[in-house]
Each structure stands twice: as structure tokens, then as C-alpha cells.
């Protein structure tokens, strides 16, 4: 309920760079007063605590995003910015994997997202391009988060961003380890957590939770895996 009214006023403030910043102000405000979208500056104390009548506000979930940040990206990279979403007040850009390196450079240098918080992937085996490569970024200058995604098919190579954010070195190794996504230009792309000779990529959806690399277990532990 509370978040519905929050979502409603998302596109309203023109000065807000990006709705992801809406998470920053004090959570007491975020506690969700039924603010009228026309007057977002209304003091929160005046708002009655009674729950607002549920308007046909968008449900929680991804909504297309078109703010200044997205416009700047679109102006610069055009079609390479495939989609832009906002989900739970967090901005998401879906970009072309071929241009990931250039977009990353721009993101770090021009948009000032200096910290690569996390890099990971999600597997959707039924899709043509089965992986979402996900970069979670943070900007100290703006106190904002941004998520960049690239759709990658099985066996496709993605440019490594470890030259842009050195921390990606291990993160990309972990993604390779768990999903088998190959990063072009990575200096030391090998498994991070599993043994180097392990077969298969455990976080793919078609790798069962009970599945093990039986040959590895037999050879290295001298037992049958028992599963």
C-alpha cells in the first residue's frame, strides 16, 4: 500500500536524477505517507496515518524508465541502450553486450559510478540469450545506485570490465565458475571457488541441486558421490 503511493510519484519530481535516489532520504518519509502527486513537498507530519484507498497505481515490479540519466545514455549510445526499467525504485539499464566496455568506461568516468559493487548473472534457460549479466554500481558523488544488464547467450563472449573496475577480476571469475560465461580480455579467467578441473556450472538452472561432478569426487576423494 505504502509503496504504491511512492511508486505513483516516481515520474513527478523533475529534479530527481533517477528514482533510485528515492531510497536515500530518511525512511521515516519512505514509510509511505499518502502524498498527493501534485505536491510532493508537503510536510510528512501533516499526513494522516490512515491507509490510502488503493488507487490503480502500478503494482510492485518493473516499469519502463525514461529520466535524464536514461536520456543521456540514449543520446550517447543510441540503440545500444536496449531497455530502461525501474523496479522497486532502482534503475536498470539493459545494454548491448558488444558495447559493454565502452558503456562501462562512460559510466565510470562521465556518470561517476566509481564503485562496482557487484557483478553477477542470472540464468533463464528458456530464453534465446539465456544469461543476464548484472552489474550493480554505486556512485559516491551522487549517492545513487545503477544496475546495468547485458543479455548473453550460451558460449558467447562478453568483454571483461576488469580494466575499468579492477574488482571485477574475481567477480568475473566467479560468474565464469558458476555460469560458464566467458569474459574476453580477462587476464586470469579460471574457476574461483570450485576446483579447476570441475565439470559443469552449478548456478545454471539445468544443474540440479543434488548433482555433483561424480568423476571429480571419485578421483579426488576416492569415494562414490552417493547422489
Amino acid at each position: 500500500m505504502a509503496n504504491d503511493s511512492e511508486e505513483k510519484q516516481l515520474p513527478v519530481p523533475p529534479q530527481a536524477e533517477k528514482p533510485a535516489a528515492a531510497g536515500t532520504p530518511s525512511p521515516s518519509e519512505a514509510a509511505g505517507k499518502p502524498t498527493v502527486p501534485a505536491a510532493p513537498a508537503k510536510p510528512p507530519a501533516a499526513a494522516p496515518p490512515k491507509p490510502p484507498a488503493p488507487p490503480p497505481a502500478p503494482k510492485e515490479g518493473p516499469v519502463p524508465l525514461d529520466n535524464d540519466l536514461v536520456k543521456r545514455y540514449r543520446a550517447r549510445f543510441g540503440e545500444a541502450i536496449r531497455e530502461a526499467w525501474v523496479d522497486r525504485k532502482q534503475a536498470i539499464l539493459v545494454v548491448a553486450p558488444e558495447l559493454l566496455l565502452e558503456i562501462s568506461m562512460y559510466t565510470r568516468d562521465e556518470e561517476k559510478f566509481g564503485l562496482l559493487t557487484d557483478q553477477t548473472a542470472v540464468d533463464f534457460p528458456k530464453r534465446e540469450k539465456r544469461f543476464d549479466l548484472v552489474l550493480n554500481l554505486y556512485s559516491f558523488a551522487k549517492n545513487e545506485r545503477l544496475r546495468i544488464k547485458a543479455l548473453v547467450g550460451d558460449g558467447e563472449q562478453v568483454p571483461s570490465v576488469q580494466g575499468v573496475w579492477p574488482t571485477a577480476n574475481w567477480l568475473e571469475r566467479e560468474v565464469y565458475d558458476m555460469f560458464g560465461i566467458v569474459f574476453g580480455g580477462h587476464p586470469n579467467l579460471k574457476r574461483l571457488l570450485l576446483p579447476e578441473e570441475w565439470q559443469g556450472f552449478p548456478l545454471r538452472k539445468d544443474y540440479d541441486i543434488l548433482q555433483q561432478d561424480e568423476a571429480w569426487v571419485r578421483e579426488n576423494l576416492g569415494i562414490e558421490s552417493g547422489q
Partner: protein, 375 residues
Amino acid sequence: MPSGANVETTVLGADEIILNMGPQHPSTHGVLRVKLRLDGEKVVGSECVIGYLHRGVEKIAEHRTYQQFAPYVDRMDYVAAVSNGLGYCEAVEKLLGVEAPPRARVIRTLLTELQRIASHVFWLGTHALDIGALTPLFYCLREREEILKIFEKYCGARLTTHAFRIGGLQYEAYDELEKDVERFCNDFGRRIDEYESLLTENRIWVGRTKGIGILNAADAIAMGVTGPVLRASGVEWDIRKAMPYAAYDQFDFSIPTRKNGDTYDRYLVRMEEMRQSLWICQQAIEKIPPGPIMGKVGKVLKPPPGEVYHSVEAPKGELGYYIVSDGTTQPYRVRIRPPSLINLEALDQMVRGHLVADVVAIIGTLDIVLGEVDR
């Protein structure tokens, strides 16, 4: 040898050797193995070998319901289970679009700050032990025991507490919680000065930590380092202030920072953080609001499809959860951003040019927990 490369890829010099440190080495805090490339006793390169404790937590999450997975996160950073639980519960709450009631949030903040003290005090004891100061360990474990007793009284468990639930709390605060915390705060506030007097001006301590493992601010950000390690390099950034969660916006505290980014500064930052946490605890017991402790959350959780990233300032750094929901009772994907793993990645850069004995000090100062590194 370039950073992040395999230590054995390039030909060894005539005076160089490869030395394995761990996974059984007592100062690696678990099962960390570091391959050191040495020239005499000087480190010219290093490579971490991790994964000995890998349990596939992220894979398990995809086969559990949202509530069932909550106790698993306590097993990652097992010396700060409460912080892990807070991050997970809040991430799922964000995904659901619900919020914990104010009373639950203040109690969460209180317990999480106690956990931060417990984690830091445990770090202090073991870090000092690694460097050769035996005495602080006994005092530090005594203090930690007091905090664990409070947890035990609150939820029955000491280490892997599972103290919080999605939507709020399961247990009401017990009757003497405020009194227990107040007593702890009074004792600990005095004693922390005594512990500092054991180390801060101790010549051996200063000699072993000053100028060791320097990480400047630009490198720290490039390496993705967070938490006290980042703050000791001069970056004043704390998620509790930058993007407040739980009830941190209601409390007054400061973010201690230092300039040099060496082991000594990281020690001072953590000491000051404990004082700040103590101050938050003292404020929290004064104003635990009355009211319900559980928000409006159903028995079966089916978050609407979508995704969320939520992070908290865990004692080790930024602990983030990236959860993708497909609208069913089980998460489609849970990614945990472990602060220990990413801080450990900076080890190579920090140990270069130092002696083998300093590697021990630098591993200690990063404050890693292998359960979280490997997950």
C-alpha cells in the same frame, strides 16, 4: 607479475620461491590458502586460493522458500549472523513492498549494533593474537561473551541466531533487555579505553602495524573495498548514513575515518566504530517504541515478479543481497555480495613488498571470515 594473475605463470627469478601459506595456517582465520611468490623474505606476488568452504548457498536458496532460506544466511559470516539476517530480511521486505514496524526496527538496530561490537571485539582479539599480543584476546572474548548472552536470552541462540523474521521479529524483547544492554554499555565503555591502552601506544604494536598494507583511497574504491577498510583509507562512506535502513536515521553517530590506509589506521577506525556502536545502543535502549513487532506479512510469501538489490553495512563492509523473484514462493535467484570476498581481493596489492610476517598482519586487518568468502 601483474596483479590478479597466476603466481606461477611467469618464470621464477633465480632467488624466487613459491611458498604456500594455509589452508591450515592458524593466522589465515579458517581455510584460506595464499600462494606467495617470495624473493628472500619479501613478497613479490601472491594469489589467494579459496573455495574450501564453498557450500553453494546461492544454489540452495533457489530450492527453499523465502522464509526457509533465512537461517542459511547466518552461516556465511558466522561471527556476525545478526547483520546477515538483517540484510536478508530487509531485502525480502523490499521485494514484497512491506516494512517492519518501528518497534521491530529499533530492536533490530540495537541487536545489529551489539553484533557489530561482538564482531569487532573478536577481530581485535584474534588480530592482536596473530601479531603476538596474547593478552587482549582474553578480555575481548569476555566482552563478546556478554553480548552473546544477550542474544541467547533474546532468541535462544548465540552464534547462528536467526534473530529476525521477514516482516519484523518473532520474539518480543525480553524484560531485562534494556537493563542488560545498559550494564554492558557501562562496562564496555570504560574497558575499551583499557584495551586501547594495551595496544595504541604499544611500541611493538605500532611497529608491526604502522605503514603496513597501505591502500590509498583511489585503489580502495577501484578494488571495491568497503567497510572499515575503506574508511581507514579516508573515504567517509557508511551505508548506515548514505542510505539509511532499519532505524539508523533516528540515531546520532559519526563515521570514523583515517587518512593513511595502513593496518594501524584500520585498527583505530574499528576501535572508534565500537564506541559509536555503543553510543547507538545507548540511544536505542532509551527509545524502543511500543507497538507491534511484526508487519503485515502472510504465511506464504509470493513477492511480485521483479528484482531488488539491498545492502547493509555489516561489520566487514557492504553486505548486499540481489534477489530476483518470479512470483513464486521460492526466489528465482539470490546473489549475496560478500564484503569479505571483495575485501580479500585487495590482499595481493597490499602484501606486495612486505615481509611474510606482515602478510599475517594484513590478513588479520582485512577481517575476513571464510564462511562468507566461500559461501
